[in-house]
Amino acid sequence: MAPQDSAIIASAAAKVPTAGEVLGPSPGVILRRRIFSHAGITIGATVLILIFAVAIFAPLLAPHDPLDQDLTQKLFPPIWHDSAKATWEHPLGTDLFGRDYLSRLIYGARISLLIGFAAMLISGVIGTALGVAAGYFGGRVDMVVNFIITTRLSMPVVLVALAVVSLVGNSLWIVISVLGLLIWDRFAVVMRSSTQQVRNLDYVAAAQALGCSTTRIVMTEIMPNIVNNLIVVATLEMAHAILLEAALSFLGLGVQPPEPSWGLMVSEGKGLMFFDPWLIGIPGTALFVLVLAINLMGDGVRDVTAPEHHN
């Protein structure tokens, strides 16, 4: 591995700008070009938009009511199975209670996205507020926020979430609130360090010298410069929240039956997985694809907004 490659090439190449390099395309054009040529973003965004559309139009798309039980039709295999019971009436088969698996999967997308998005919003607000305050004010505020972050990190998330949900009782909104209150740590950590970096730049000092209010400086000078990092963390935390919800539901303390949650579907199917492996295969794959799409988006945003780390 040769060291300092890029530095030397850059110094050799940068000193000799050609006319084309000087009058190149605008930054906006470059960014757009980078976004559309980034495979991760393109794939991730396409899948995510598809799943979003499925979630929004669930009532139109689902062939059956996801809660409709019909014990005479239970455990039909999906259509690709070489079985007499496989029918287009239930393309992905039916579960133990004869509920249409495709419909449950479609409605499950709603739950995953809703929980992921709402928990991400709550944790984003908490974490960003703490992180920006710590990074901007420094000193004592920073110490206190750091302490809160450390304390939060030392609490085991899954265990505390399970305990709290079991004690408070579980509804969709309680699961969302508990997750939102538990996973703000990464927002706080990243926003804190991003703010610290921006805060020491000259234009922030210039704004202070002009007598701008703290709110104004944070909103107009700092936030626009850390929003890229915020988006990256937001996508990662949304994926995190979706996985946590699935895990909680899998353990029986998240979304409650008969609601269709993908984690719950895996949990309900696991007893029969040796005979009907598609019962866990289908919802698990859905979960994997959704989280993968969100992560690809997040990684992609990080790549295109920080080109110096990737050439």
């Binding site: 591995m1 040769a2 060291p3 300092q4 490659d5 110094s11 050799a12 084309g20």
Partner: protein
């Protein structure tokens, strides 16, 4: 005087997104034992890459070619990495621009100094330590023995560069390549470090290849000078000849940029070279300096210009103008 290093027609190419970059285009030079060769030029003219080519430490994407690359009689052009790493640090050493980051933060000064000797010589650690202390004292570091236990972050930039110099001396090399060793240092420290290098070079009778863009330094320490511009040597010769009789318009321009106490009029404008360095991407032909040259003619762009002998044998320059015309231009440039 036998040559410790001979380089003939060295070419470096680097593929970049815009095409092929030609940072070094067929340069030749040699360094004699106990001789100081200064390579002068502005940033980006290929000085550093020339140095790294000799050490075979170029970036992996760069390709190096030459007709001859001889270190003390041994052809090092085609040797494998194994042999090359035997030579590096033992027969030739290199001092870099950035003393602040050139030492590993995780190890003590002593460890990094000793390591250089232990790699190439089968000696006990105590001997390596003694050698390190001896050399640290040589490069002007007091309380050398206790410095061995210190970490790089505890030392100032000037001290770190002294440590770097001591490190290259651990095996008693024949050739030292110093790539702008003082650029990152304070002005007062710069002179100390350079004089130290010059002294050590004499004392240990090594070849020194000093890369710099500071002509003041060159005038003081150089035996021979090579002026580089846009990947080529445009003028070379003994320091006396190049400074006494600068022939290439670029060299003349460079020298014109330096204020000379007593000569330069108070308040008068210093010389400057207008324009920017040309892009070295893609096919290149003609004189690289033509678009910035006051004496350029259509002929200059017609074909590549070769190095030709100046008025004396120890002097060569790359220009179509005759030695007499050059001397005439030089006179006009520097107002008496």
């Amino acid at each position: 005087m036998s040559n410790i290093l001979e380089v003939e027609n060295l070419v470096v190419d680097i593929p970049v997104s815009a095409g092929m970059l030609h940072p070094v285009q067929g340069i030749s030079f040699s360094v004699g034992r106990g001789e100081t060769l200064c390579i002068v030029g502005e940033s980006g003219c290929g000085k550093s890459l020339t140095a790294l080519s000799v050490m075979d430490l170029l970036p992996s994407s760069a390709s190096r070619n030459a007709d001859r690359l001889i270190l003390d009689g041994e052809d090092i052009l085609g040797v494998d990495e194994r042999r090359m790493s035997d030579l590096r640090g033992d027969r030739m050493g290199m001092i870099f621009q950035e003393p602040m980051t050139s030492l590993n933060p995780a190890y003590t000064i002593g460890n990094q100094l000793e390591e250089a000797l232990l790699r190439h010589r089968n000696v006990p650690r105590q001997e390596a330590r003694d050698r390190a202390i001896y050399l640290l004292e040589k490069v002007g570091i007091t309380a050398a023995a206790s410095r061995l236990r210190q970490y790089p972050h505890q030392l100032s930039g000037g001290l770190r560069q002294r440590v770097m110099i001591a490190m290259t001396l651990m095996c008693g090399p024949d050739l030292i390549i110093a790539d702008e060793p003082t650029t990152a240092l304070d002005v007062t420290i710069q002179a100390q470090i350079l004089l130290l290098l010059a002294e050590l070079q004499k004392e240990f009778h090594m070849g020194l290849m000093l890369i710099t863009h500071d002509l003041g330094i060159v005038a003081r320490v150089a035996d021979r000078v090579a002026v580089m511009y846009a990947g080529q040597i445009v003028e070379s010769g003994t320091a006396e000849k190049v400074f006494g009789n600068p022939s290439h318009p670029y060299t003349q321009g460079l020298l014109d940029c330096i204020p000379i106490p007593g000569k330069t009029k108070r308040g008068a404008h210093l010389g400057s070279i207008s324009g920017i360095v040309p892009s070295l991407v893609g096919d290149l032909s003609g004189c690289r300096f033509h678009d910035r040259c006051d004496y350029a003619t259509p002929e200059c762009t017609a074909a590549d210009v070769d190095l030709k002998a100046g008025e004396s044998t120890d002097h060569a320059y790359r220009c179509l103008l005759s030695p007499a015309q050059c001397a005439e231009n030089a006179k006009r440039k520097v107002p008496a």
